[in-house]
Symmetry: D4
């Protein structure tokens, strides 16, 4: 697994840990990574399985905590336990992204991610790409509380987003 270093504030600091159950989830989860990159937030993205590599997952989580990680984003499909397992390993905020599954299209992933028992929260976003991008935005909104520069960027993002909608034109009726 290559380490993606894009926006490091300090030496090896990684503010956000992005983890997914399989490399095939990258097509969805890279939307989270792109948002981090665009906001200049350092992150580390990994494919690690709650079931197949539980030890590596635990090590990565504690390693990330030492590197200054402030939040985790976990995406998985089907019986999607990854975000819940991450949340049970850390008290850092954990965001869950339901990956669309082959046959159930993510309804299973959504329920397996969001329906966590009392005591171990997983803050869950929408199924698929929109959810992955929003997980990063949610994590960034959290970092922005104590970071005026980030707050400014978030406001600019919202303003641009609104402008984009405002400027959008509908085609003529054929």
């Amino acid at each position: 697994m290559i380490e993606q270093k894009m926006a490091e504030n300090k030496n090896d600091e990684k503010l956000i840990g992005i983890v997914m159950g399989s490399t095939s989830d990258w097509d969805v989860m890279k939307e989270a990574a792109k948002v981090c990159r665009d906001f200049g937030i350092s992150f580390d993205a990994r494919a690690l399985s709650a079931h197949r590599t539980p030890d590596e997952l635990g090590e990565w989580i504690s390693g990330m905590e030492k590197r200054g990680c402030k939040a985790f984003i976990a995406g998985a499909g089907g019986a999607a336990h990854l975000a819940g397992v991450v949340a049970s390993h850390t008290i850092l905020p954990t965001f869950g992204v339901p990956i669309p599954s082959k046959y159930m299209k993510g309804l299973d992933s959504l329920l397996a991610t969001v329906q966590m028992p009392r005591g171990i929260p997983v803050s869950t976003l929408a199924i698929g790409e929109a959810g992955a991008a929003n997980a990063a935005l949610a994590a960034i909104s959290m970092l922005a509380i104590n970071n005026d520069d980030l707050k400014k960027k978030l406001i600019e993002f919202r303003v641009k987003q609104s402008e984009k909608v405002r400027k959008a034109t509908l085609p003529e009726l054929d």
Copy 2:
């Protein structure tokens, strides 16, 4: 609507804003309030409707921001738009709690809360009481990033929680 002042750090500071679509949602949403109280986190809890009192909602949100609010928790049922509307008014982190609806038991509330479009994230927790309590825990985990005292409390909470499970005994078979 009475103001619930329980754990104020400073004069009128309210770290968390709890809002629900109807007073009948309080039975579920008070679980969020209780967690805030137990962690000594100031909060303001209100019943305000995205559809019936949009102006008051907007005023409350901006008022909360002035009072030092760091996160919003919004619970609603059915076509549950409240969390999404809160999230569109603020760049502060917004957590959504799907309230169980009379006939669909919260499946509608869950989908209407979690399936937000790219750009406006609502971090969604489980349907009902567990989700309300977890929304507060998620908000607190976020506040704990820059607050060692809170971090300690969170770890203690987890330890107690684990001990409670460990000590739980199953009844004898009859």
Copy 3:
């Protein structure tokens, strides 16, 4: 956003306001626009987001009311709040069209549109193209109550529709 002026009765009058959450919803929502055009009903169609451009949405709604608008048709997908937000801004009849979402195929859009709380009705049509066309027909049936010309057109539409079904032939068995 271009203004689509097709069937103006008077100068700037727009009898129906069609709004959708994203330009990508146009493929579905243009079916509503086509029905308006075919019935000679003036309309204005816009892509405006309940979450990303709440202010513009409010301005457009009140602008439309000044231009003589009699009904709104709102289409959105996923956590589809648009129709509900429109309905909370106006006492004019509001029709909702659930746009098919990428993974849940509009089940989320349907529930988020139709399951409105008591007091703010959204009259909801079917998921997708049929729903968009029917939203316009429903709005027109409402306008026809006080418009004999429109009533006649509606009856003609129904007659033609029946004739089309009657004349339809099934292929031979191969």
Copy 4:
């Protein structure tokens, strides 16, 4: 079946026709009737079945049209065809209310009501009591277009509704 005459403008005028598939649906559908009564809108409420009394249904519909009916509200459960059959008999606006069914809790009723094919719209409201009340409000919003008195009442209704939410207080935490 008794005729409910409550708020007649003229002699036998009935502005809204309320129909349900079974007398057992009255518990839900009376919410529509109450809203009509509260707004002073004349109505006729009947239990008639699309399948068991198709002829009476047709006669009632055409009778209602002669009595000045401007909109129909139809509620049914399970394979809920009533609203669709009403809509196929009239060009007047037809609103559908999915009645909660014994085992599926109205998911079947909702889909059977809302998923109408292109050409015959049924404007559908939420499952159960909220949907019944909203169907009446939607019909009234339509009548209000050409009735300033009704428009005023609708605005007052909204204002009162907002005040009620604003004044609602949450209980203290125990």
Copy 5:
């Protein structure tokens, strides 16, 4: 609509009436027609809509009864009322085929067909092609009760079907 005369016992006798809501349903419903043809059972197949051509539907049903029809097979999609409306027009056995809908893939069609109220049964088969073929087989099994020739054919069909399964071979593993 062309009349499909394939296996007439007598002059104009049609033992089975096959009706569908739209010509686009033919791809599915022709599976019912093929089974009738293969068993030598006369049938008439039509596209008629419960909502768009209610009168023609009623006339076709009573016409079919005069031509010796013994059972109806009705297929429709979405808010699939066709089979229920057929069943309300006749005391002949009525079989329902849920046509897969564009977005909900026939879950709506299934519930709108099968969840009929007490008193008007629609005997419902599986969604899609298998259901269409089985509707014809079910109707034929009913005709076979008093027809030894047909009974023999049905047994032969079952025997052949079993043989086909028995003779089926699985490919080698690659």
Copy 6:
């Protein structure tokens, strides 16, 4: 298991075989038995399991065929295989009744009953009591094809049913 002899035409003739997976299904399935009794149709009702008593089930089916049985009605819940297994043992028409299950309320029973593969049809009715009653009505409508007395009774049943609906009165608004 007691044999319920109520309306025998001849000595031991039983026109309809009613079978259910468990005695606890009787609360639902007795609605089928009552309809048979009311129409004077002989039947035999048994609790036999596709999985727990496959041999007895097979013997009962062939025994019923010898006693003149013309149709089977099978009700089961959950992974409801009973109707399918009955249908695989006989070429007589087989009607399926989905019994409401404890947690899924019959959605599992419905899909496991109706979604039969091509070649072995199970004509399925609604979940629960309405479906059980309608299964008997569907079987009787089939018997009525060659039985003018039964046809008359069916028409009378429909007439009474319509009258009952027509005479139903709604309570006054309180």
Copy 7:
């Protein structure tokens, strides 16, 4: 947590490990324990959480393996990760029991248990009590492969079960 020693073959041997996410799951999971007891199979039953006591869970699993455990039965509700986490800790067969959840009635539990990714199987049984009992029966059927005494008991169980069904009588129609 008390240790339930009922049917030990040897000193501390426990052939089956039964684990559930919460003591409140015992009402369902005791059905698994009862089946073990009735078959004379030693077991240990514990409430341990995948998220709240991950370490204790791991220790219990490896402790069970040392005590001769041959299979695990894990029951959990909601985002039910327990069985998957057990399966990732052991190569022993793992059976999953979806516990009915408060609002979704176990649909979430079922999907979160059964939809495991390739490589880590969880053999899943039905939602609730029937599933718990069947999990024990499935584990016992596995032990019976190399245990003729157990095989005999299983056959006797099936025979008794069939007899019970055969002897069941239906009440008279009232």
Copy 8:
């Protein structure tokens, strides 16, 4: 049907019986066969229908038992009764694989396979390919209890699987 002999321990011994409802299920079920082959476990794979070839199914099952079969894997789609019928014919462990169905994508298959009544367990895996592979792994984990060589292979499989995840690299962001 060809017999697939790949990994025979002894002459005609077949440790696992793989059966599917149709040859079209092979694309999914071959994943079970491949796992058996890769682990050197003899198996026999057949397409046999619970409904169309009940007798052959019974004969194959008892034949397999004579050839030393220790577990059955059954895959079927729609009203998927095959695994339940297999389980009712044998006391050997039976694993069920829900085959994705054409329109419902395997939700029907899953419920019809997993929701078995108390007394006849079907240990069910995920919908589709992952479930088929996991069914074989689950059966092998069962065989491994008394087979140290197989236990070693299973551990190696898990180790390799973990290594594969560990070595997986994510692409660079574009």
